[in-house]
């Protein structure tokens, strides 16, 4: 869902996807960045993203990933499910932001 969300703003190569996830999460979501590529291949296999080598005006060719229509639909479904889940959890724990008081032993 994170990768699809980042790609919904436009095509990006792997390194840029990793940086954007890092930026949006304020460094809270970090991972072994090599793991990004098997995930991207899985998304390609499911036809949620496409990839092609593109040569920028300067620098070497890069493999750039784009969201497909199926990927966009999947993202909408994922976000909707996630928001429903988050609402349910918030309803249980409360959304005031107050931590429960520790009970004395």
């Amino acid at each position: 869902m994170l990768i699809l969300s980042v790609l919904s703003d436009g095509p990006r190569h792997g390194y840029a996807i990793a940086r954007e996830i890092e930026r949006r999460s304020a460094d809270a979501l970090s991972m072994g960045e090599g793991a990004l590529y098997p995930s991207l291949r899985a998304l390609e296999r499911e036809e949620l993203v496409t990839a092609e080598w593109q040569t920028p005006p300067s620098g070497p060719a890069r493999r750039v990933y784009s969201l497909t229509d199926a990927g966009r639909a999947k993202l909408v479904a994922h976000v909707s499910a996630w928001q429903a889940f988050a609402r349910a959890v918030n309803a249980v724990i409360g959304t005031s932001g107050d931590l429960p008081h520790a009970q004395p032993l």
Partner: protein, 207 residues
Amino acid sequence: MPSPSENPVDAYMARLAAPLKPLPAAVRDEHLRELRQHVEQLIVARAGQPDAVPLALSQMGDPVQVGQDLVREWQKQKRIFWQTVIAVGTCQMLFSQIISHQASLMFGLFHRVDGTNGRGWTTVYNGLVLLPPVIAGTVIGRRLPEQAIFAAFLAGSLASLCGGIVLFCQSPQLYVFLFGFGVSGNEVFAAYIASSVKRKDWTLRLQ
């Protein structure tokens, strides 16, 4: 050129490449190229820091795990192996040849060596009618996605089979029409084989 033991990036890439050996060379090279670019960008982003390289490699994660995950992902793709398609294709082409030989004997559809088939311009037309699908198949086959190539190949096989049936129904015009489809399917497939050789990717992937 530094050996992998001297250059940490090369050593990392060598460890990553080891589990990728089951992959076709073109796929493996593409993975390695892309991942090396990522590593290099991480190092550039930390330029000036004395520990830029080890930090970048640490940020990439375990190379063996990454390599194994990439292979696992590749293996999940639905593929029809080259050898199988070659075997089926050879049988289909042989079948087409036998059928076309029978057709030429029965209908005089193609020029005989001595030119004495007794059907004049009709036979020339029947020969020429095969050219457009051959040319179209060869040209289009280089641009189609693999699914379409495989579909064309199946359609060509089916058309050849139908051609064999039609042959026994004594309908030369319909036979030529179907045979054209058969040849077209074969040509599309042949174009794919040619591009496979160029890409050094020996599998037909139906993703």
